[in-house]
Every structure is written in structure tokens, then in C-alpha cells.
Amino acid sequence: MLVIRAITLDDVDPLIEMARQVGSGMTTLKPDRDMLGERVSTAVASFAQTIPPEERDYMFVMEDTANGRLAGVCAIKAAVGLNEPFYNYRIGTLVHSSRELNVFSRMDTLYLSNDLTGSSELCSLFLMPEYRTGHNGKWLSKSRFLFIAQFQQLFTEKIIAEMRGYQAEDGTSPFYEGLGRHFFKMDFDHVDGLTAVGKKSFIAELMPRQPLYVAYLPEDAQAVIGQVHRSTLPARKLLEQEGMHYEGYVDIFDAGPVLQGRVSELRAVRDSVPTVADEGTPEGECDITLVSNTKLDDFRMILTQTCNGGAKVALSMRELQLLNCQAGDPVRTLSLNVRKNTNA
């Protein structure tokens, strides 16, 4: 069976192994022992609450209990941009109008901004290819929302997720070719690599400080602003179902969209149910559900069938073990799928 749990120091080696499979494009998971080791230490300290809330980085792993291997990883950074500047482009509007000439031009502009500083960030999601079946991907992504719902007080009001931007067949980014290349004079892969080793803010400092008119960019660059990489489209839809939206912020290199959501408006926060675990088998109309315990220092979550209604949630002995719970312990549940007619 699979369980999603808070990461531990023992997970560093398997995590590095997993990071080798990630490939380029995911800048926060590079197979670098120093970087990942430090990150896992931070995560462990985060769950133990030994560092201040804004410095925390909650990392979760999906473990296959049958063989003890890691199947996936995901994370929530408590706050971005507090150590080094966090840059995005904000799509703004400038209207140029002349009554005398009867001309009215509405121009989109790109403003270099640090507006999202302090937001919590969903990041570093990766699922091993052999586990990309069934509900695993969806579950791994949504697990973070249930965590946020359980520990709302640990998060700022705003949650963001940076989505990988559009790339052409040959792997180039039309937006980067149309804009960034002129200012950095290096290939996208190189920039991407620098971003991974924490030099994104250095690079951003080379960007023009003044707003740019989108109309100056080549058409293919204009067209991909706010567009995700083809392989990221399902992930985007999934986050949008959970209450996150594109609100005009994009990555400064590939123009991939930043999705944003208010914690209080997330589906998980509105619809998840605090309840009590019970040993038994579910009866009645059932639904695929995320069930987590409520312990921050030993956070664990399973995906199972549970029934609607009722004061308690019936779980098997095995499931209770996976959650490190006993009957009578508090748990929190969230249906995996968005109910079509909720609270009708």
C-alpha cells in the first residue's frame, strides 16, 4: 500500500536517487546531495516546529510500504522570497488614448514584480514513472491541500504554484528566445541550471527594470504568455479544481503561469471534514477519500474508500497502522474528486 508522510532524514538517499530521474525543467529537485540534504533537514525541523513558521519547508514523500521504496515527493514552502527576492512578471495594462485622434490602444505590459513575496508555494512534485497509475498523481498533488486545511495557521493567506511554461517541440521556450535571451545572452538550459543552484535572483537582476510592452515581443513569444508546458496541463487543471487561479503573474524566463489561491477559499479548507477514526469496514455509499492524521510531527495520509455522513470514519486495522492512529483518534478527510453538485 501507499502512504504519504512527512519526510525524514532516512529519506535523503532514496530522494537523491529519485531526483536523478527528474531531468531538467524542475529546478527544485536536482540530484545534489548538499542541496537536498539541507532541504530535508529543513523539512524535518519544519515538522518538528524548531524553526520559525516562515522558514519552513514541508516535504512529503509517498512510500510504497510493500517494498519500502519512495514512489513520489511533493512540498510546500511556507514563504517565498524572504531570503532572496522572488521575481515574477505581472501582466499589467496601459491604455494609450488620444481623443483628438480618436485612438484608443490597450496595451499589455510586463512588470517585473516581487508581489508574491511571502506567499506559500506548492512545489517539487514528482512521481516515479512506474507509479503513474490510478489516482496516485492526483492524490500526491492534493495531499498538500489537506495538510494546509489541517494546519491553516501555519500558512499565509496566499498559496501559489509556479507552472512550467510552454516549450516548442525542440525544447526551446519561445518566450525566452523573444525576451530573456537578449538580456542574458545564454541558453535557456543554462539559465535554468543557474536557477536551480539558487541564482535566480542574480539573473533577475539582469532583467530590464522598466515595464515592457508585450506588443514589442515576437508573436510566438506573446502567444505563450501564461501557457503551461503541454505535459503540465493536467497538473494545472487539477490545481484549478482545488481553487487556484491564474491571475496574471508569470515566470520571468518561460512565462509559465503562477496559479494563486486564498487559503480560505481552497476546496480542501472548505470541504475537508475533521472526524474521528474507527476500526471497521465502510458501509453505504462510498467515495475515494484522502484521510490524514492530525499530527504535525508525524503527518501521515492514506487514500481509501470512505462513506459519506456518519460521525466517524471506518478504517481497517492496516489503514490505522499506516496513519499511526488508533480508533478514537482525530483524523481529517477530503474526497479526492470534486463533487459535481456539492451542497446542492
Binding site: L94, H96, S97, S98, E100, L101, V103, S105, M107, T109, G178, L179, H182, F183, F184, K185, M186, L194, K199, F202, I203, E205, L206, P208, Q210, P211, L212, Y213, A215, Y216, L217
Partner: protein, 346 residues
Amino acid sequence: MYVVRPVEPADVGALEALLAASTPGVHTLPRTREKIAALVERSCASFAAHVDIPSEETYLFVLEDLEHRQLAGTAAIHASAGSNGTYFAFRNDVIQQVSRDLNISHSVHALTLCSELTAYSQLSGFTVRDREKAGREAALLSRGRLLYAVLAPHRFGDRFFVPLAGVTDDNGQSPFWDALGRKFFKMDFLDAERVIGGARNRTLIVELMPHYPVYVPLLPGLAQEAMGQIHPSGELAFNLLAEEGFEADEYIDIFDGGPILQAHKNALRSFCGSMVRRVATQDQPPGAPAQLDTMVNYAVASSERNFRAVVVPCTPAESGDTLCLPSWAQQALRVAPGDNVICVRI
């Protein structure tokens, strides 16, 4: 024989004919009789005005072919380019991009909408009949108006600039405009020039044109190539102005990207190289070959009140305090021996 002189009301008809035949690239002079008459009237009033601070005056000069009693060219100076508003131009800026951490250092060329030229005096309206065949008289025309400024410095700013028409194709399309102005004005280049009357000091410019720097590498190649390039019709003017001491690299026109030449007056040859001399009469009629060898061409101008300028070969006047002029030149300048003139080698 040519003379440069202030335009007169009687010139309106001849001007209309001359301007009708001139290049469409020059947008700074009117074409209709009514507007030409208004300009001439304004010029006459400007020459007659007592000026403390340069303002709305426009001085229009004509080049007259004395032999045929015909007008052969025009040139103008606006005392203050922004007298009716702010004069807008793009300034060529270089933004240095340096990151020690990344070992990157390069520069990015940007265009910034600026109004620095507002207080400058603006040369404009340079037209010459039969441009291809034009000789010294074109140099006289270009320099003559500056000699007026030398004689009447209080009427002008300390700095001068000249916008020259930029590159357009056979259909009147401007690649620079297409990449930039069109996106804001939503109209063809010539249509835009028509509605704005060739002006660069109208409020609607600041309403419509970009407020933020234009990063040149983002512009299409054709537009980049057109920046600072002159329309072929402007080549003569460009060469004359470059010789005069104007510099081209700092500003370009916001519409067609043509160069805007500018200089402090002290950098101009008309200002720093002109000398005041007393008129004397040339003893011998020119023609003796030995004498011709030693003669140099001077642009000679009379006075602020009664301005005339001619180009005439004379014996070098650097060492003496007189300038020997043939009688035709004295007549054309309306001076007599003993009067002061200013002269500069041409």
C-alpha cells in the same frame, strides 16, 4: 550668384511652386498657399520682433538665384523647439548589465522618450531645387541661417538640433514606425504624419507613445536597421550639417527613427570660425589665374537688421581686418566699403 535672405510676402507664390516640387519626406513645411502665406507672415513678424527670450519665433530663409530671379531653396529655424509644447525625441541610452556573481557583463541599447530638446533651437525646412545638381549654394543656404544666429544670438538657444527624415520604402511605409508607433497610433506612417502635421511637440504624443524605454534588441531587424538612418533625400543636408559640426548619435525621431543631429553652438563652425571684417572693394576683377589660386570661398553675411548672405571667393581674410568683396557681392549683401560683415570659410 545666390543670396540667402529672409522670406518676404512677395515670395508666397514662388514658394508654393518650389515646395510643391519638393520631397514628400520633408514634413516640416506646409504645401497649401494659405498655410505658406501664414508661415511667411509669421517669419516676417519674427524677424521684426524684439526678442528677449527665444520663444515662438520661426525664421524662414530663402535661397534666391540672382541671375534668374528665382527661389532655389528654403531653410528655417524655430527659435525654441518646444515653444508650443514639449518636443519629444527618443534618446539612445545604453543600459549596462553587469553581474559579478554570474560573470556577465554586457550592454543593452534602449530608446527613451525624452523632452531634452525642448529648449533647443530647431533647424528645419531645408529644401533645395535640383538637389542632385546643387553645389555651393546648398552649403550657403545651410550655413546662412546659422550666420543669422551668429549675428543675433539672443534670438536662439545655446544648442541647435536638426531632425532628418528617416528611411521609408517606395510606398511611404517606415519599418521603424511599423515596429513602434503603429502599435500605439494604429495607423500608417504617412497618415500619422498628416494628422499630426509633422509636429513633435503635441500633447497627443505623450498620450500615445510609450512611456517606458524601448529595448532595441526586441525590435524587428528592419526597424533596428532603420534607426538613425537618413532618407536618401536627406543626404545633402546630412553632409552639410556634419561638416558644420553637428553630431548624430544621441537622438532619433520618435516616428521614423531618422537621426536628430544636435550640437552646442560653440561646436559649430559658423559660430567658432566666423570673423567680423570690414568691407573693402576687390581692386582687381577676379580672373587672374594666379590670384584665383590663393582665393578661398567665404560665406559672408551682413547684419541682423538687414540680413543677407552670399558665398564669394575672396583673398584670405584671417590676417587682416578687411574683407575684399567684389561689387556684385556688396550689392547682394547691401553693404558698402567700411560696413562690418561676418564671414566664415565654406
